[in-house]
């Protein structure tokens, strides 16, 4: 096993900077999610680590050694491709055996290792099938078995669950996490899906236009986003914009919002505050004040019922705010009703605007 260090890596295609001075430390044995919109450079970054493509500048080390001159086949990585990339001319077992057999392992070793890998992904009985005889989820698991059977130092996964439906996806997430924990391999997981990133990984890196926007444990990124982009890309957020006061911001209409976390900014600068929809309490006018300094009046414009919770859209001073309320059986608020929103400073993140 080995950690991966990416230091100041840049890669351009023509005039387009696909990676712009990216530095990330992937800890040994960790599960790291790379998140970002389409075209943000996630695949490009994985390809640099795998060695399919080479950075214009910067350094990549695996297990502390620079891999600049190490070809793909010597890097000892395992990769799961978005389209699975199973060899159609081989059986499932031969696909899994491929890495061992090119390495020159004996038949007996190959047989036991392949069986063990297939058992690990719960496909022990399907070794004789051809890839085209498998379902999407099964192919996915074969690709995973093939990638881990060689005991790679690093496992690279490029949106491996992208093509699966929701139920299968959740099953595979659990299975993938279990396997990763079992073999303890450093794992870098590319995904579009923020929920997937939040639930599975130890750390998350958010990429945008080839730059690393923010990086850290899921809770930290969720609770303390450093930019409006991070706040809205990972989870949902209400953004207020105004001038910095000292402990928060003042909106254009004079309302003060007190922020308890986030950046420390000099008074007078432009700044924003991000508040997660589930942190806001919504009440009818009649409700008693609860001592929170952040209070806004508004009017419900819409309610979307989503089973265990409801989302209220509240109009306030030309802005639509989102509030998520657990459906605990209390009375629902009608559209058009005047409401008061309250939330604590601890739920308010101060973000510098650049």
């Amino acid at each position: 096993m080995a950690g991966v260090q990416v230091s100041d890596v840049s890669r351009s295609f023509g005039a387009h900077k696909a990676l712009d001075d990216v530095s990330i430390d992937f800890a040994d044995g960790g599960f790291y999610a790379l998140l970002g919109p389409s075209g943000s450079g996630k695949t490009t970054l994985l390809r640099q680590i795998a060695g399919f493509d080479f950075p214009d500048s910067g350094r990549i080390t695996i297990g502390g050694e620079s891999v600049e001159r190490v070809p793909v086949e010597k890097r000892r990585i395992g990769m799961v491709f978005q389209n699975y990339a199973l060899f159609p001319n081989m059986s499932v077992a031969d696909n899994v055996a491929f890495g061992l057999s090119v390495r020159g392992e004996t038949k007996a070793v190959i047989e036991t290792e392949v069986q063990r890998a297939l058992d690990l992904v719960q496909l022990g009985k399907l070794g004789g099938r051809r890839p085209h005889q498998l379902s999407g989820g099964q192919r996915q698991r074969v690709a995973l078995a093939r990638a881990i059977v060689t005991k790679p130092r690093v496992l690279l996964l490029d949106e491996p669950l992208g093509a699966l439906d929701k139920a299968l996806r959740v099953d595979m997430q659990i299975e993938l996490k279990r396997i990763q924990r079992e073999i303890g391999v450093t794992t870098i997981f590319v995904t579009h899906d923020q929920e997937e990133a939040l639930t599975m990984s130890d750390r998350i890196g958010i990429l945008r236009d080839g730059r690393l926007v923010q990086e850290g444990p899921p809770e930290e990124i969720y609770n303390r986003p450093k930019s409006e982009f991070a706040a809205t890309f990972l989870g949902d957020a209400n953004i207020f914009r105004g001038d910095t006061t000292g402990d928060g911001i003042r909106l254009a209409d004079g309302t003060a919002i007190v922020a308890g976390v986030g950046a420390t900014l000099a008074a007078g600068a432009k700044a924003s505050c991000a508040v997660r929809p589930e942190r806001i309490r919504i009440a009818t006018d009649a409700g008693a004040p609860d001592g929170n300094p952040n209070t806004l009046k508004g009017q419900v414009s819409k309610r979307i019922f989503a089973g265990n919770n409801s989302t209220y859209f509240v109009e306030r001073g030309g802005q639509t705010l989102k509030v998520i309320v657990q459906n605990t059986g209390m009375e629902r608020l009608a559209e058009g009703q005047d409401v008061v929103l309250r939330w604590s400073p601890e739920s308010t993140v101060l973000i510098a605007v650049n």
Binding site: F52, V72, I77, G78, M79, F81, A85, V102
Partner: protein, 287 residues
């Protein structure tokens, strides 16, 4: 039920489209070919006005004279060698076209590969004659570069026949292999390498097996006509260029023994079909 109806009505609507092709095949291939089968069992051409009768003698001639068998074997060997050279030259070219080159440069090289296809066969062969003969282009060029004097006179030799045929037929191999290689997803190559296989191992274990259909199709397209070829052997081979195909041609254009020519052709057809039938399951298993 609905699908069956749809496919039947699909066939019916396709009929007008298929009819010209079938008519053409009937007129252009089936009728003359049946006439040839008929001729091959005759003593004389009925057109010549001489009396004629049915006979098996034309087929017997093949077995009574060892020359025909010797020439057939030589032609089969020629077909095999030309096919192998076409693979050796055409497959790497197809690989580079499909997997290495992109955009403009791919189009340019593609054109170069296809060019012999579009040039007239005779022009092609006589250009080779100019290149290969003593004091020809190859000879002069080599002597201009090399410090010592050498004599390159490949004209009227077996290698000259091979060179001419390979040049004529290599585009088939490039095209069929290009099509199958093109269809192989690049991520399969990357997957192979990420699993620790060198480029060569990926080629051997993934790419070649997956491009087998193209290789087989190309080989069949080349082998069959080369075994019966006569133009290249005659012009580039000179006295060494007597093959089964040239003997058949002689029967039609020089000796005017059409019945014997027809019989020899059908024996060749039978032999080639048997070879393909024997080879195809072996190749299919390899793929």
């Amino acid at each position: 039920m609905a699908a069956a109806t749809a496919s039947r009505s699909g066939l019916r609507s396709a009929l007008p489209l298929l009819t010209p092709a079938y008519l053409w095949l009937t007129v252009a291939i089936f009728l003359p070919l049946s006439a040839m089968v008929f001729f091959s069992f005759m003593t004389e051409l009925p057109l010549s006005g001489k009396p004629w009768a049915f006979t098996l003698g034309n087929y017997a001639a093949f077995f009574s004279q060892s020359l025909y068998l010797t020439l057939l074997l030589a032609s089969l060997r020629l077909g095999l060698e030309v096919t192998l050279w076409c693979i050796v030259i055409g497959y790497p070219a197809a690989y580079v076209l499909a997997k290495v080159l992109k955009g403009r440069s791919r189009e340019a090289i593609f054109l170069l590969v296809i060019l012999p296809f579009w040039s007239n066969g005779l022009v092609r062969i006589f250009s080779w004659a100019m290149v290969l003969r003593e004091g020809g282009i190859l000879d002069t060029a080599l002597n201009a570069v090399l410090p010592f004097k050498i004599n390159i006179d490949l004209m009227y030799s077996y290698p000259a026949v091979i060179i001419g045929l390979v040049h004529s037929y290599v585009p088939y191999m490039v095209l069929t292999c290009y099509l199958t290689l093109q269809a192989i997803d690049d991520s399969l190559i990357e997957a192979g390498r990420s699993l620790g296989a060198s480029r060569l191992q990926v080629l051997k274990r993934v790419i070649i097996p997956l491009s087998m259909p193209g290789l087989v199709a190309g080989a069949a397209l080349i082998f069959v006509p080369v075994v019966g070829s006569f133009m290249e052997p005659r012009i580039l081979g000179g006295r060494t260029g007597t093959f089964y195909g040239t003997v058949i041609e002689d029967q039609f254009v020089a000796v005017f023994n059409w019945p014997l020519g027809a019989a020899l052709s059908f024996i060749l057809l039978a032999v080639v079909l048997v070879i393909l039938a024997v080879a195809s399951p072996v190749l299919r298993r390899a793929a």
